[in-house]
């Protein structure tokens, strides 16, 4: 009896810890008052509507979308062939390459951001947008390689040889036989990369410049000046977006198989 209640308590605390902040943000955004507070001063949806009218949010949302979509696509264009090479060929330093590719996950974002700023943006005079694009691509690349690699490893390499013996070139065998069989993994990598890029703060913090900010950075600076509940409303909307994406991916792809 005791152990049953203990386990229920632990599950309850865990869920509270995980979901609690989310609920607080949703409610804080629904405040009828002018300041961010919990519990909210009365209920209204005005802040949820207001976020769509803030011009800087529109701009930074567009930038974040651009970075998440194209950064991830670029990472896949680089990462899929890299994963293929690692899984199918006995390339020199294969293990080293895997480790190096994973580095942006292991190295703290603050350091990555500072390093990119100090050694890429300043000396080479890259524009802020280009630097952000390169940084986001690099950050997503490890996910692209890892996720695609795991679905490639589940695929028999005999299949490509069979395709070659039926008249395919090596490249043809890849596009006709390998790609259709790893498309679930590629899509999973895209979603994971998209979410990672979209929520990325520390690296973007260093690389944002005047007028060019990603959405999370823009929200930070907005909060420094204006302490109204719109940031909470926006956070809730973004969290909701992530949940929907992952839910749909799980439903149609069995997303959790790949991650």
């Amino acid at each position: 009896m005791t152990s049953k209640w203990t386990s229920r308590l632990i599950i309850g605390l865990t869920l509270t810890f995980l979901i609690g902040p989310f609920l607080i943000i949703i409610l804080a955004g629904m405040s009828a008052g002018d300041f961010l507070a919990f519990p909210p001063d009365g209920l209204s949806l005005k802040w949820y509507i207001k976020v769509f009218t803030v011009e800087s949010f529109q701009k930074s949302f567009a930038l974040s979308m651009f970075l998440a979509v194209f950064g991830t696509l670029t990472a896949l264009v680089l990462g899929v062939p890299a994963a293929y090479a690692i899984s199918r060929y006995d390339i020199p330093f294969g293990e080293t390459i895997k480790t190096v590719v994973a580095a942006p996950i292991i190295v703290p974002g603050i350091i990555v951001g500072l390093a990119l700023l100090r050694y890429l943006v300043i000396p080479l005079g890259f524009t802020v947008t280009l630097a952000l694009f390169l940084a986001h691509t690099a950050l997503v690349l490890p996910y692209a390689v890892r996720v695609v690699l795991s679905s490639l490893n589940n695929l028999e390499s005999d299949m490509e040889e069979a395709a070659v013996l039926l008249g395919c070139s090596r490249v043809g065998a890849f596009t006709r036989v390998v790609l259709p069989n790893i498309q679930g993994g590629v899509l999973a990598a895209f979603i994971l990369g998209f979410v990672t890029s979209f929520n990325q703060v520390p690296v973007s913090l260093f690389l944002s410049g005047p007028g060019v900010r990603t959405l999370p950075i823009d929200m930070l600076s907005y909060m420094e000046i204006t302490f109204d509940p719109s940031v909470a409303a926006l956070s809730a909307l973004l969290a909701f977006l992530s949940v929907v994406i992952v839910f749909v991916a799980e439903k149609f792809l069995g997303f959790s198989r790949y991650v």
Binding site: D158, A162, L166, G167, V177
Partner: protein, 346 residues
Amino acid sequence: MSDRFVSLQKLSLAYGQTEVVPELDLDIREGELIALLGPSGCGKTTTMRAIAGLMAPKTGKIFIDGTDVTRTPANKRGIGLVFQSYALFPHLSAFENVAFGLRLKKMDNLEVTSRVEHGLNTVGLAHLAARKPAEMSGGQQQRLSLSRSLVMEPKVLLLDEPLSNLDARLRLEMRTELQRLQRETGITMVFVTHDQAEALALADRIVLMKEGVIEQLGTADELYNKPASKFAADFFGFENIFAVSDAGIVGNKGSLAGTFEAQDGHLAWRPGAVVVGKGPYEGTVTGVAFAGEQREYVIEAALGQIKATTPATDKRYEIGDSVAFDLPLAGAWHLPEGRQGVLMAK
């Protein structure tokens, strides 16, 4: 009909620094069903991959139908390969799996359809054309893989362990099927196996390989009844092989005195040739197994282990029993040093 339809000349194969086949010469006749037989690591699969063009030889040449294909890429050689794993394309239906190679040839759709239908019919899968490979049984998958290679009308069809993934009943069925397809199409077939029974049952000729070298090449009859070496004899069921000395025969534990009339080399007996229950020698039964029509014994004797079988209707000995046995000269296979083996007759 060419006697050298596939010709491997001084072929040397290696994975990096590891040499697998030092120097191989082999001629395969047009329209024959030939088996590359040997234990794992003997180079049989490597040789097959070299014929297919999936690995480049270090030195030597490969001719197919009179043309040097040593430098021809795998996708231009016109060779079919049925993989041990079948290597079907999981995202395509049975129909599309078979159509895969035909479509690459830019054949028009009607032609593809009629060829695929014929191809599926040949292996009895016409009714499963819409299925995905995952929805088919192992035997069906293998026939699909076979059909996918056959519709391409390859000059040579290679098969990697074609029967090893099937259960006993399907194995017999597939064996008959392969022989029928080979007779009907006249395609030269080369199959790789480690199972001597499979090779004996299926092949016109058998190439027995050991450590990258051809140990013996001949018909099933020749290899079974006239093994040329100790290795070949052992592989084809001469389970009792002993060296001949002046005084008798020598096993790994000791020797057995007696007159064996052979001067040198080795004498070999099949388990069935060993006489159990009478004879000049004595041993202890250490193993007995009932195998339907016969009983299999392991007898520990002065020179080492003797493997023997007797008809199941004979007297039964138990583990620990002392038993008399004989290794009769008539029925022994003699492998003299450096000369051809002979059957001993008394």
